[in-house]
């Protein structure tokens, strides 16, 4: 009987000890797996962040402005560099052509002028 009790006690202590060891190793196994997942998670977060940053760069006004300038061949000059022509104020006197005046009698219609094409 005593021997049986001793055996039962020993068995119980051994089982608990083994369970404790198993628990400790499980903790470490989970820790390794957690570490691995954390690295993947962090990597994805970082890539997401970097993508957002790149998006912000590409959609920033300065970047878009540069792209437009690069693509565009036409450049609008500044207003202070545009030369405006003005007609002279005094009336322009057209010299009379006497021969033309004679032929005016044949002119029944109004003088020829370019007509716009109206679509």
């Amino acid at each position: 009987m005593r021997f049986n009790r001793f055996l039962s006690g020993a068995f119980f202590v051994t089982a608990v000890s083994l369970f404790y060891v198993y628990q400790q190793t499980s903790i470490y196994t989970l820790a390794y797996s957690g570490e691995k997942k954390q690295r993947v998670y962090q990597d994805l977060l970082d890539k997401n962040n970097l993508l957002r940053y790149n998006l912000n760069v590409v959609t920033s006004l300065s970047a878009m402005g540069n792209k437009v300038l690069e693509a565009s061949e036409f450049e609008m000059p500044a207003e202070n560099r545009i030369v405006k022509l003005e007609y002279p104020r005094e009336k322009v006197v057209i010299a009379k052509n006497k021969i033309a005046e004679i032929f005016n009698i044949f002119g029944f219609k109004s003088q020829a002028e370019a007509r716009t094409v109206n679509h």
């Binding site: 957690g34 977060l45 962040n49 912000n56 202070n80």
Partner: protein, 573 residues
């Protein structure tokens, strides 16, 4: 006999075991009670790793919640020199990837240390290339790196940080204590191979930095940057600054300097380029300062708009100095004196007022004092008290000579006229918020003092509108709305103390629309050439910025009204 023999052997074995066990127990006792603490400490050191947990630096947003400064992850390369065998081969491999000197890498790798940095916060491309080399003894540590998606936009306002994310200029410096957060720490467990495990024996979480929201509008800032860039390049200027303010609140909508720099590549720029000229540079303002003299004259009821002044046909003696106008005038009304920017006319007005009154109004307008803007490095300017004025000062100070100002002071001064007479404190940061966008602190507009009465402000608006319509500021007149302002063309001082004949500061300060101003703009161009008049160099920049910004603000208001209308319709339905 047999039994006796058996007993003796039994006792010998028993005694042996007893001695042995006594020794074991004594040893255990010694280890546990006398050596225990020491051994525990070694075990803890071996099994745990103290790590400081870096907080995320706060983000800087513009007024429309677009990020101006953010954090991205970057790998920092370290080496364990004791583990590296073929150092020369590694140096040869790393030098081209890192763009580092051979001597620098050699110095680092030949140190008798267990840890040395080789390069901090390198690019992802560099990281991949080094990982592909599969060199034992090299490792990477993930760190946070400050990045600026807009490059040079608002560079002088946002500022930049050092390699360890400490603010060094601009708002990164001014609000560093809010942005930096609080580091945490943790004791992580390590396995037998010294690899860190994701189990923290003890941990204090880091507190991330707070985000700040600026008053700067990215669109207005871009418009201002584009126009100032054009003006500075067209006139080969040494430098230039432009400030756009909301006259009623003092909110800084844009602040631009040229030359400028890209915030992502600070190390390759000089301190001259990084200087915030709009608040750090002192200069004599010239004719733009006449708004002070004119306002004082109207406020003190010493003159009215139609009073006539004889402008001495362009030459007037003040003590032992001859004062000149850029164009000879005879009789001009007070209004025309300002419209045509007559130095002689203004001096005669100032002589009526006297030095004390001119000085008092200059102080009221904020000259000679800090504006109080929340940016580091502001210079307060220079304004001599009347007791230090010479006999010629009455012909100098009222026309903007013998006075030192910065661009922001000019903007806030003209804003005081635009908003009906209040000097508003300019500010750049509108709110501090946490990561959940709860506002922790809101900065509100602050009126410093009343400078002039509403009536004087209205009269000044009409006069300054005349400057743009009929006077020296015609090139600053926008096409589709009214504007008011003042031009300035100030000679710079040479090192020998005399005024230069070929170095000028061209300026224009104004607001638009003239009747109900939405914005105030101050443009200053340093040493433009070949043209140097404020009305030619700075006024067009004012006009272009005003036109674009007002178009944008009106469209923004229209969109906001439309949204309000849609929301209202939705609510009713």
């Amino acid at each position: 006999m047999y039994i006796k023999e058996f007993s003796r052997r039994f006792y010998i074995v028993f005694l042996s075991f007893l001695v042995f066990f006594t020794f074991i127990i004594a040893r255990l006792f010694f280890i546990q009670f006398f050596h225990g603490r020491y051994l525990s400490a070694i075990a803890e050191k071996q099994q745990s790793l103290y790590i400081e947990l870096e907080p995320q630096r706060g983000i800087i947003y513009d007024s429309s919640a677009r990020p101006l400064a953010i954090n991205i992850a970057a790998q920092s390369l370290y080496a364990v020199p004791r583990e590296i065998k073929d150092k020369e081969k590694i140096i040869a491999a790393l030098a081209p990837i890192l763009n580092a000197d051979y001597s620098y890498l050699k110095d680092r790798l030949y140190r008798n240390k267990s840890f040395v940095w080789l390069a901090r916060k390198i690019t992802p491309q560099q990281t991949e290339k080094i990982k592909a080399l599969k060199i034992k003894g090299l490792g990477f540590i993930r760190e946070n790196k400050r990045a600026y998606p807009n490059g040079y936009l608002a560079s002088h306002i946002v500022g930049f940080t050092d390699i360890d994310n400490h603010g060094l200029s601009g708002e990164e410096l001014a609000y560093d204590k809010y942005l930096k957060g609080v580091s945490g720490w943790a004791f992580f467990l390590r396995d037998a191979r010294q690899n860190r495990l994701d189990i923290a024996a003890q941990m204090v979480s880091p507190r991330d930095g707070l985000d700040i929201v600026l008053t700067i509008d990215e669109v207005i800032q871009y418009i201002a940057e584009k126009e100032l860039d054009k003006a500075a390049k067209d006139y080969n200027a040494k430098g230039a600054s432009l400030v756009v303010l909301d006259p009623y609140t003092g909110r800084v909508l844009a602040l631009v300097n040229r030359p400028t720099f890209d915030l992502n590549y600070v190390s390759s720029t000089s301190s001259d380029v990084r200087r915030n000229r709009a608040i750090c540079d002192l200069f004599e303002p010239g004719s733009v300062f006449k708004i002070v003299t004119a306002s004082a004259a109207l406020e003190e009821n010493k003159v009215n708009e139609n009073d006539k002044f004889f402008c001495e046909n362009g030459s007037y003696r003040v003590a032992n100095h001859i004062l000149h106008d850029h164009q000879s005038h005879g009789w001009l009304t007070f209004r025309e004196v300002i419209e045509q920017s007559s130095n002689i006319g203004t001096t005669k007005v100032a002589q009526i007022l006297g030095p004390e009154v001119v000085y008092r109004y200059a102080k009221l307008f904020g000259f000679g004092s800090d504006t109080g803007i929340d940016l580091p490095g502001e210079i307060r300017g220079m304004l001599k008290e009347p007791r230090f004025w010479s006999k010629t000062s009455i012909g100098a100070v009222p026309i903007g000579q013998e006075v030192g100002v910065n661009v922001l002071q000019l903007a806030t001064a003209i804003a005081a006229i635009a908003n009906g007479g209040y000097l508003m404190k300019p500010f750049v940061v509108s709110a501090i918020q946490d990561k959940q966008q709860h506002v922790l602190r809101q900065y509100k507009p602050m009126a410093i003092r009343r400078v002039i009465s509403v009536n004087t402000a209205e009269r000044m608006k009409m006069i300054l509108k005349g400057v743009v319509n009929d006077g020296t500021g015609k090139l600053g007149k926008p096409a589709s709305f009214t504007a008011a302002g003042k031009t300035g063309t100030a000679q710079k001082l040479e090192p020998d103390g005399r005024y230069s004949h070929n170095k000028f500061v061209a300026s224009f300060i104004g607001f638009a629309p003239a009747e109900e101003p939405l914005i105030v703009i101050a443009v200053v161009v340093d040493e433009p050439h070949p043209y140097y008049f404020g009305g030619v160099v700075a006024a067009p920049a004012f006009k272009n910025v005003a036109e674009e910004v007002i178009k944008y603000l009106k469209a923004k208001q229209l969109n906001a009204n439309r949204l309000t209308g849609i929301n209202e319709i939705t609510r009713i339905n």
